[in-house]
């Protein structure tokens, strides 16, 4: 029984495809496509001009190539920038009207959309290819004045908020992929927590790529007003395909005075097969702005999927006394590659940041931690603590650490530590002596290695993530 379970787990269990009729925009990237997306979304003019401005800028940008994992050139004209289930053309008002195939899909993924079936209160926004198909617990949230809806709805219903904050952290003049996203983003989540409200449940978005040859460009914007608190979860999966698919999302967080945002990601995009064929290119821009005093943004990520992960969730600590945190576990196996880390930009006084990064590489994979800690001359009395540990399994994989440390303030302190090692024979021997098989022993040790980060995840996610850590390393022992 146990063996069978393990056997089941070895396969990427989210690799199925949902056979559903799609509406797609024609292939290619040009102004017409952008206008098309904007029109389908029934967007106001200011939104379209935001997109076109970004596109103008995008045309002048060159694709960056300083990252460690190299990939074959992406033909941006050979992608579909918009794909939606046909049944979503007119958005259903309730779950009863939703295409049963979609409901089925999410059930299979373990994310039932029917509220009554949820034991624990997590409000989910489910994004399928380019559109959000359903958002749960909206009424409950509305009672507290919390806005949680697809961003395309927010653009129509809460233009004042979106206008004010969209692009305030990741402007249209940002780097290549972020600018591309600003031009062609299709859907994503929007959350606004009003002043003084502590969000009663976890908010969550579940991203699913289904259609082939489609790029997913979602945009998430979370604004925590003064004194509020929100915990947000993000999960993602994609079907198994031979081709590489691009996922270039933008996530913007804004925390005002005394607010706190906790953003957790369990990323499990399809990593490609054993020979490194297929898989998602996960080129995501995530940035949080601690705008107000005493605000706090905390990123937690468990990166197990994707052929290539290339992202740096960052914090801009502008408000005095603000706090930025980054907890990360990145696991690469087979031919996966990851180049991930964070940026902590200290601008305000008494700002604090903490970075804990755990990287595990196995098989033929390659993992890089790349991070920046920058303390500006005005950020008096700021501190940073960074710890990045890497674990290597086998001599065909690589683990790299590339931290950039800039201290321009004599009152501030930076401490950085990094280690690279392998699982010690002694530990393995000890576990095996007590009756664990080698794989279980490795699982146990790795879980211990990651514990500091796993603890940061909300309960429901922690269990899931712990399992995922074990699965990702299947077959890497021996």
């Amino acid at each position: 029984m146990r063996d069978k379970q393990i056997e089941d787990l070895k396969e990427y269990k989210y690799g199925f495809t949902t056979d559903i009729e799609n509406i797609r925009a024609p292939k290619g990237l040009n102004e017409d496509i952008i206008k098309f997306i904007s029109k389908v979304k029934k967007e106001p003019d200011w939104m379209l001009s935001f997109r076109l401005k970004a596109f103008e800028r995008f045309k002048q940008l060159k694709e960056p190539n300083w990252q460690k994992p190299k990939y074959p050139k992406i033909d941006y004209q050979d992608l579909y920038y918009y794909s939606a289930p046909k049944s979503m053309k007119n958005k259903p008002n309730s779950l009863d009207e939703l295409d049963p195939k979609l409901l089925e899909t999410y059930k299979k993924l373990g994310i039932p959309l029917e509220e009554q079936k949820r034991l624990n209160g997590i409000a989910v926004d489910a994004v399928f290819d380019s559109v959000s198909v359903a958002t749960t617990f909206r009424e409950e949230l509305t009672k507290h004045g919390i806005i949680f809806c697809p961003i395309s709805e927010a653009i129509q219903n809460h233009p004042e908020l979106v206008k004010k904050y969209l692009g305030s952290v990741i402007p249209t003049t940002d780097h290549f992929f972020a600018t591309l996203n600003s031009a062609v983003f299709t859907d994503g989540s929007f959350a606004y927590i009003p002043e003084g409200v502590r969000c009663p449940m976890e908010l969550s978005t579940y991203f699913r790529i289904n259609a082939s040859k489609t790029g997913q460009f979602e945009r998430t914007l979370i604004v925590a007003d003064k004194g509020s608190y929100v915990s947000y979860l993000e999960g993602c999966t994609a079907p198994m395909r031979d081709e590489n698919q691009l996922h270039a999302a933008n996530v913007e967080l804004v925390a005002l005075d005394d607010a706190e945002i906790k953003y957790s990601t369990v990323q499990n995009w399809y990593p490609g097969d054993k020979d490194g064929k297929g898989g998602i290119y996960n080129f995501v821009t995530k940035r949080g702005l601690c705008k107000g005093k005493n605000s706090k943004i905390s990123w937690t990520q468990v990166e197990t999927g994707s052929a290539i992960t290339w992202k740096y969730p960052s914090c801009i600590l502008r408000g005095d006394n603000s706090v930025g945190e980054f907890y990360s576990i990145a696991i690469t196996n087979n031919h996966q590659k990851a180049d991930t880390g964070t940026k902590m930009i200290h601008l305000g006084k008494n700002t604090k940041s903490k970075i804990i990064s755990k990287g595990i590489s196995a098989g033929n994979s390659d993992m890089t931690y790349r991070g920046l800690v920058d303390i500006s001359p005005k950020a008096n009395n700021s501190t940073n603590y960074t710890q990045c540990d890497s674990l290597l399994m086998g001599n065909k994989c690589g683990a790299h650490t590339v931290p950039y440390i800039r201290n321009k303030n004599s009152e501030s302190n930076i401490a950085h530590e990094a280690t690279t090692s392998k699982i010690s024979e002694d530990q393995l021997h000890y576990c095996q002596q007590r009756g664990l098989n080698p794989e279980e022993a490795v699982g146990l040790i790795v879980n211990g290695f990651c514990k500091e980060v796993l603890q940061q995840l909300p309960m429901e996610f922690a269990v899931e993530a712990q399992k995922l850590v074990g699965i990702s390393l299947e077959g890497s022992v021996g």
Partner: protein, 415 residues
């Protein structure tokens, strides 16, 4: 700059007696340099120190040709006292003296290497510049089993005769099996606004030991780049100590290839900067085979708008199991205008390794100062005592006691 380079290059070629092939190699290097120019911040290795800008701002237009037909008088007062030593004296880039009086003549060979063989496959354009314009280069060969009795001090002296000049130097050392050599590079400048570009190559054969101390102590307005390439075979040891303090700009770059088993490399450095100085140490230690070891310790004390950069890289290739690599950089910032940038990098492809790095920067610990002041010391005394202790740590890493004392006296560090 292009016309100047070409004109000066022709002057160099005219004065040197080179074969057609050598001229072609030099010409090739010149073209490379003209193509790339001085490195700027777009180049990742020069991210924190934009040499192109620094030269533009501090020197302006450079000229590349020096007339080496006349000898310079050696001012013996600059020689280091209290330590018997062999000498090589460079004045304004011209080799004036090679003196190994303390050693057995037959054990050391000095080979005039006017032909250029590009040993430095450094990716930066300064090696091209160096190859194109070096006038004379020597190879110093220490023979099998010979351990030099006295250290060798290489005096890099410039006088006020030159300004806005680029000086290129190159030396090649080979330490045969079981030999050992201690080299001190000693800078003494009375000139202003020159760019000095030095390349050293060390070949360390089995069981050989190299100790290299670079002392840039005296305040001067020159811009310097110093590249060491060290190739190490089995059981060889290299120790490099850098005192980076006096020049307006100085970048020390060390590339060390640990090619043989049980080879080990040690790099220790001190930045002691003020007066707008901008210094950098960049190290690349390549662990290429099993059981090699490297250790790096860099400490900085920065004040008066100074800027220190440390970029250290440990590379471990997939065959280099049982590697032990360690790297630590610490900085004290004494005032608000100073800046410390670090990029400690690990690139590891083998699993059975022990590699770690640490980096810390901050202000002087107020508690420690309070403690010392409560014991009756003045603020100034407490501060000095703490800095002294902070730097002593690095100086103590020097394994040669004679030279350790010399350096301690030179920078006024007490035990």
């Amino acid at each position: 700059m292009k016309e100047q380079l070409q004109k000066d290059f022709e002057n160099i070629i005219r004065n040197l007696n080179l074969s057609q092939k050598d001229i072609e190699i030099k010409k090739f290097c010149l073209d490379n340099f003209i193509d790339k120019g001085f490195p700027n911040r777009k180049n990742e290795d020069w991210k924190f120190s934009d040499l192109n800008q620094i030269i533009k701002k501090n020197i302006g237009e450079l000229s590349f040709y020096s007339d080496y037909t006349f000898t310079n008088k050696i001012d013996t007062s600059i020689f280091v006292d209290g330590l018997e030593h062999n000498k090589i004296v460079f004045i304004n880039g011209r080799i004036e003296k090679i003196d190994f009086n303390y050693e057995k003549k037959e054990q050391i060979e000095i080979i005039d290497q006017s032909e250029t063989i590009n040993k430095f496959n450094a990716k930066n354009s300064l090696s091209d510049l160096n190859n194109a314009f070096t006038n004379k280069s020597f190879k110093i060969l220490v023979k099998n089993g010979y351990k030099l009795i006295k250290p060798l001090i290489i005096y890099h002296t410039t006088t006020s005769k030159i300004w806005s000049k680029n000086i290129n130097l190159k030396l090649d050392f080979e330490l045969d099996k079981n030999s050992s050599l201690r080299v001190i590079d000693y800078f003494n400048d009375t000139s202003k606004k020159n760019f000095i570009n030095i390349f050293y190559n060390f070949d360390l054969k089995e069981n050989s030991i190299l100790k290299n101390y670079k002392l840039d102590k005296f305040q001067n307005d020159n811009i310097k780049y110093f590249f060491n390439n060290i190739e190490q075979e089995k059981n060889s040891i290299s120790e490099t100590f850098i005192l980076s303090s006096g020049s307006n700009f100085l970048k020390n770059e060390i590339n060390c290839d640990l090619n043989g088993e049980y080879a080990s490399a040690f790099v220790n450095g001190i930045f002691s900067l003020n007066n707008n100085n901008h210094h950098e140490i960049r190290t690349t230690i390549n662990h290429l085979t099993e059981n090699t070891k490297s250790y790096q310790l860099i400490k900085s004390v920065l004040e008066k708008n100074s800027n220190a950069v440390y970029q250290g890289k440990i590379f471990v290739n997939s065959d280099a199991q049982k590697t032990d690599g360690y790297q630590l950089s610490k900085a004290i910032l004494l005032d608000k205008e100073s800046e410390f940038n670090a990029k400690p990098e690990l690139e590891i492809y083998a699993d059975d390794v022990k590699c770690s790095h640490g980096s810390a920067s901050g202000s002087l610990n107020e508690d420690s100062i309070f403690y010392l002041m409560s014991r009756g010391l003045s603020y100034q005394q407490s501060r000095e005592l703490l800095i002294n202790g902070f730097l002593l740590d690095v100086v103590e890493k020097i394994t040669d006691s004679e030279i350790k004392n010399l350096i301690k006296n030179m920078i006024g560090i007490k035990e």
